[in-house]
């Protein structure tokens, strides 16, 4: 129970939720041995039930599995009517979930088992208390409640294991991505460096064409390095849990402008922040990446003599709506969806450099926080990128 973070306090809450009271405990313990008396019948019904479906039949090939399942069912039927709904009892329920997970029995199948028992037990109880209808009904309901509690715990455990397995797979993939990226960078360094050494050491024997070829080699290596970097960024977005905290967007923007200082000055770009920007609940590193990509694009895809970028924010219902508007080259409507795809570029490398991953990264981050990102634009008339971030954080 500790492994799942469930304690008896949680169990008591769950009991209250299904209205499993002291009275129910008494009703069930007064039926001590009831489950045991009918165990043979119930367990063979259980076994036949599993046999009648192809998927579950496949799991029962091994005699030791069958024996273990039958034994655990008998024990269960005994324990339900013992009246000890303590930690040991519920640990036992979780352990059943472990057994099921281990043999590959999916929740959809063993929920059927609980139903099967209920379907068989209810008439048996009704029959046993046929002269006192109220007593019979009360006990049928008590059994139903305990089944609900037990089922929930078995499910909890199953999904806990599945989640752990998934976590393991993600870690493996992450290792893979890291290893691949790092190993790819090493030969790139070789290409870039030695092309440069050639240019330097053999300048006298190289004509302009030769130097040009070598510079192309260097450029390609550097571009590939940037692609790898963006791939790594995207990969780590998938696996890292975002660090959620209150982030002052004004601060983020001044940091981003510092990062982009060189190109801002080089293009004499004017960055205007039209209003006081809000604080948002998100991961500071990731939101910074979003603003950096959007601002960098606004400056880069801009051939105006005085590039201008306007940043604003307003509230729209439960969301903050941010806008980054520029007087740049604009985007053809046909491509406004495509540009958010990975490595999608609309312009040749010589005109505007970049990997085409920036917007894909923005989209991933924004959508992860429950927002939307889109663009409104016309060729020659600048672009306006909008994105939303929810105001209230849902854990």
């Amino acid at each position: 129970m500790k492994e799942l973070g469930i304690d008896m306090e949680e169990i008591r809450q769950r009991m209250a939720f299904v209205d499993f009271s002291e009275r129910d405990v008494r009703l069930l313990s007064e039926m001590k041995g009831f489950g045991q008396n009918h165990a043979d019948r119930l367990v063979s019904a259980f076994y036949n039930h599993l046999l009648s479906f192809e998927e579950t039949r496949a799991l029962l090939k091994d005699q030791s599995i069958i024996d273990r399942l039958k034994k655990s069912q008998e024990k269960y039927l005994l324990e339900i009517f013992e009246g000890n709904y303590n930690e040991a009892y519920f640990e036992g329920r979780l352990r059943i979930g472990a057994v099921h997970h281990r043999i590959g029995l999916k929740p959809k199948w063993y929920i059927g088992t609980y139903c099967l028992y209920e379907n068989l037990l209810s008439p048996l109880i009704a029959e046993a208390y046929r002269s006192e209808f109220d007593q019979g009904l009360a006990r049928i309901l008590a059994v139903r409640k305990i089944f609900r509690l037990d089922m929930a715990l078995a499910l909890d455990f199953y999904f806990h294991r599945i989640t752990a397995q998934l976590g393991e797979k993600i870690r493996e993939m992450d290792d893979f991505v890291h290893v691949v990226s790092h190993d790819l960078k090493e030969p790139l360094r070789g290409i870039e460096a030695f092309a440069g050494f050639l240019i330097e050491d053999y300048a006298s024997v190289l004509d302009e064409q030769g130097k040009r070829y070598l510079n192309i080699l260097k450029g390609s290596a550097v571009r590939m390095k940037d692609l790898i970097h963006d791939l790594l960024t995207l990969a780590s977005l998938s696996r890292k849990d975002p660090v959620l905290q209150a982030v002052d967007v004004n601060e983020v923007l001044s940091d981003v402008q510092l990062d982009l200082e060189f190109s801002i000055q080089q293009k004499k770009a004017q960055i205007q922040i039209l209003s006081l920007l809000p604080a948002v609940h998100c991961d500071p590193t990731q939101i910074r990446e979003v603003f950096k990509n959007l601002l960098s694009n606004a400056i880069k895809f801009n051939t105006a003599t005085l590039p201008k970028v306007e940043i604003a924010a307003r509230e729209e219902g439960n969301f903050h709506l941010f806008s980054i508007k520029d007087n740049g080259i604009g985007i053809d409507l046909r491509y406004t969806e495509r540009i958010f795809g990975l490595f999608e570029r609309l312009h040749p490398q010589e005109k505007f450099e970049g990997t085409g991953a920036g917007l894909a990264i923005c989209k991933k981050v924004i959508e992860r926080f429950g927002g939307r990102i889109w663009v409104e634009s016309e060729p020659g008339k600048g672009s306006a990128f909008y994105f939303t971030l929810p105001m209230n954080v849902r854990r």
Partner: protein, 152 residues
């Protein structure tokens, strides 16, 4: 104690990749300070050098380095193990160790600093940047910083 005798500071380069060795050598050759670069090709060789074992039995063949440039990705004994051994050893732990490696994984960075690495640097892809890094290392560790005694 006088300031470093900058030109006599020997740098031990622990690197297995031949291209990276050549790149590093070239960067130092073009650097401000003419430091001798001694190259060992894997973690085992690095430890043999520092402890005067095997082919480095004769201490004359293995002068004590003033600084160690260490790649983490090494065959035989890993760079992390070499780092750990150096920083655990009373006689070696004073030597500044600069890790120059491809990995930018947080685990590697944190572990290295926990083991006592002096600086952790990611190997740049572009040679121009590589030069800047080497210049910065020389500027900081050899020209500006005072190295611990026991260095040439």
């Amino acid at each position: 104690m006088v300031a470093n005798n900058i030109h006599s500071v020997k740098i031990l380069l622990v690197e297995d990749n031949p291209q990276d060795i050549e790149i590093t050598q070239r960067a130092f050759a073009k650097g401000r300070v003419r430091n001798e670069l001694i190259v060992v090709r894997d973690g085992q060789e690095a430890l043999d050098y520092l402890y005067h074992r095997e082919m480095f039995k004769d201490p004359e063949t293995a002068p004590r380095p003033g600084m160690i440039l260490l790649d983490l990705n090494l065959p035989k004994v890993s760079g992390m193990e070499v780092l750990q051994q150096i920083k655990k050893d009373e006689s070696l732990k004073l030597i500044p160790v600069i890790v120059m490696t491809v990995s930018q994984r947080e685990e590697d960075i944190v572990k290295s600093y926990n083991l006592g690495v002096n600086t952790y640097i990611q190997k740049p892809v572009e040679f121009e940047t590589f030069m800047k890094v080497v210049n910065a290392i020389q500027e900081y560790w050899i020209l500006i910083a005072t190295l611990p005694p026991g260095v040439q």
